[in-house]
């Protein structure tokens, strides 16, 4: 018996074909047309025809048209192996092959090959393994199994007689040891591009995420919470001819996402310099809590050995670094901000430190720098006291020298 999945597929195509043809016809005419459709979409007719058309498509993991809409390249199927090497590349995430479309009229063949039979394997899988099941399904009077198999599997063959790249692709010389090079034609793995998009949309728009997002809006608790990916850009492939790029492109509306890969930039509109004291409430403690907690745990529970001391110094440095990074962001503001009345209560040494307007006088007298270092150390101790609250240890004499030493170490970043 024909697998119901195949039967349904043929029925659907038949119904589709009939839809536009039956209108305004007499009953006799309709009967004729129906007969024609029944013949056309019988497996014995459709299958040999599909086997002929399969060559107009080719499966590939890296369609060339993502690099240029007119690029004509070999249809590569990469068989790269998985490895926990830390790279997003083909082989390190499961994706389906894409389809290069030589002729859009043959796309039904790809759909057919992707059908999953009762055992969960696709028709293509079955053909590749020449299973008894598929031989049985494809036993028809009009063609031999091997003709059909070869015809359909042409979808896995490259239509180019020899390996072909294209001048429109980026071709990169990569230097090897010695003075040799390899020439790399760069292609895009469309399966990975769209899996990435799919996963991002999952994070943002899944039903669970929607429920959790609503909870936050209403200030209700939610056990799992939810996540966001910020700063995405979208890129379009193929314009109004998405289907010409590839099947996956068409299925994804011709749009893929790009993750932001940018250094931190100060937004002058949202950054305000301190009005009275950089080391006061201006330095919001929240981002430092985690490091201070770890620091505290280390002081309380750490064994007195070199490892503990290194950990401790690492944490102090991490905290100091964050403060200095912040100060540098303020330095990027339009010079001269501190001269205005708004900032008249800010101590002079902080103005010299934070406003690039004062850059020329920084080397004249370093009293301001000593002040900054002293106040930074004081802030460190105050912040620790505040975050750790009642369980705190007096940092005082024991830790202060380490803190000061590390601040001294960063001196050139404060200047």
């Amino acid at each position: 018996m024909l697998d119901p999945v195949i039967q349904n597929f043929l029925n659907e195509r038949k119904a589709n074909w009939l839809k536009s043809r039956l209108k305004n016809k007499t009953e006799a005419e309709q009967a004729l047309i129906e007969q024609e459709a029944t013949d056309k979409y019988a497996l014995a007719t459709w299958l040999p025809d599909a086997a002929k058309r399969a060559r107009q498509l080719s499966l590939t993991s890296h369609p060339g048209k993502f690099s240029h809409p007119d690029a004509k390249t070999s249809s590569i199927i990469s068989d790269a192996q998985q490895s926990a090497d830390g790279f997003l590349r083909t082989g390190n995430a499961k994706v389906n092959l894409d389809v290069f479309v030589g002729n859009a009229a043959a796309l039904d063949v790809h759909k057919f090959l992707s059908l999953k039979l009762a055992d969960g394997n696709t028709i293509l899988n079955h053909l590749e393994n020449k299973t008894a099941a598929i031989k049985q399904q494809f036993s028809i009077s009009t063609a031999t199994f091997s003709d059909i198999e070869q015809g359909l599997l042409a979808i896995k063959q490259d239509s180019h007689p020899c390996t072909t790249t294209d001048g429109k692709l980026k071709q990169v010389y990569f230097p090897l040891a010695g003075d040799d090079y390899h020439l790399l034609s760069i292609l895009s793995p469309s399966g990975l591009l769209f899996k990435l998009k799919h996963q991002i949309n999952n994070i943002r728009f899944s039903d669970e995420a929607k429920v959790a997002r609503k909870s936050r809006k209403d200030n209700h608790a939610h056990e799992q919470g939810f996540a966001d990916i910020y700063g995405l850009s979208a890129i379009g492939y193929g314009g109004s001819n998405k289907q010409n790029i590839s099947v996956l492109n068409s299925q994804n509306g011709g749009i893929a996402y790009l993750l932001p890969s940018m250094p931190p930039e100060l937004n002058p509109r949202t950054t305000q310099p301190p009005k009275t004291n950089f080391f006061g409430k201006f330095l919001w403690l929240k981002p430092y809590e985690e490091d201070f907690q770890k620091f505290h745990q280390l002081l309380v529970h750490g064994k007195p050995n070199i490892h503990t001391r290194q950990q401790r110094d690492w944490l102090i440095r991490s905290i100091i670094y964050q403060v200095i990074d912040y100060a540098w962001l303020i330095r990027r503001l339009e010079p001269g901000w501190s001269i205005t009345e708004t900032y008249q209560q800010l101590p002079q040494y902080q103005k010299i430190w934070l406003d690039e307007h004062h850059a020329p006088v920084r080397s004249e007298d370093t009293q301001w720098l000593d002040n900054v270092k002293q106040e930074l150390a004081n802030w460190f101790i105050r912040a620790y006291d505040k975050i750790i609250e009642e369980k705190k240890l007096g940092l005082g004499d024991e830790q202060l020298p380490h803190i000061k030493a590390i601040i001294n170490d960063c001196e050139n970043a404060l200047q």
Partner: protein, 346 residues
Amino acid sequence: MAKKDNIASVLAFEKKFVPSDGFMYGTTWEQRHDSAVVLKLQEKSVRGTISNRITKAAIKNDPLKLNAEVEKANLQRVDSCALSPNQDTLKLQFTLKILSGVQQPSACNNQAFNESYTQAANNYIETEGFNELAKRYAMNIANARFLWRNRVGAENIEVQVKKLNGDEEQSWTFDATKFSIRNFDHNDASIDTLAEKIAAALSGADDFLLLEINAYAQIGKAQDVYPSEELVLDKSSGSSKGKKSKILYSINDIAGMHSQKIGNALRTIDTWYPEYLEANTGPIAIEPYGAVTNLGKAYRTPKAKADFFTLFDRFARGESLEDKNDTHYVMAVLVRGGVFGESTKD
């Protein structure tokens, strides 16, 4: 004709005219050399009137509904840019780098082709020395064509050019209103000296030339100025309501002109295309098919055998083109740069 064993399927040239973006400042004509203030973009809401024909019968035939519909706030948000009330002069500043090495493609995968092309290009440099092209490029600096719409109706336009590289200092000042943008027939000694510098760079006598260009256009107090418009390839799929309908270019908060737009003006030197005399379009930008974007028209078609690829195929293989102007055109496209592999020509 073309022999088939010397086909370069990969062939590319870097551009030799490298303008920066243009920065816009406001000043007064009297103070133009002393001080200028950056021009910033402003966002405006414009209340457009309903100008499309109302077709829904229910609305058309009910005066109350019709009124409501017409008065519906057709709010559009647009960027704009203007001089302040005490400024009457736009200053546009950019740098322009002109490079040598047009005889070497940046990529070419056929040795025989490469050799015959280099030979042809060297011949051109020897016999023509880029003089004709350089003169036209110099003219397009002097006539301030790169101001585009900002040039229209200006009372006075001055262009100052300063050479930034090399040891000897050199500078030029042009009264742009004296030079036509319709033809290149002018004879002017200072244009000639600027052209000499450009030709020396293009032909490789000098490594490169770096110019700073300051143009001043007296357009009137508080007048609108026209930075480049951004081409946003919108993928946001948000509703079109409340979207900005015009986005202008700015760099670090200074209104700007795209480098590409300046480059396009500088290479608007093609008066050699077939329909030049009849079309009354004037000089067009050097492009492989002589395409003019705002007209949606290509003046140099393969059918007329006037396109770059047809001419270049012959030129690069050592044929001499009957019309010297065709050779000028071919060299000008190479100065523009691009990807010209042979399989791409169709």
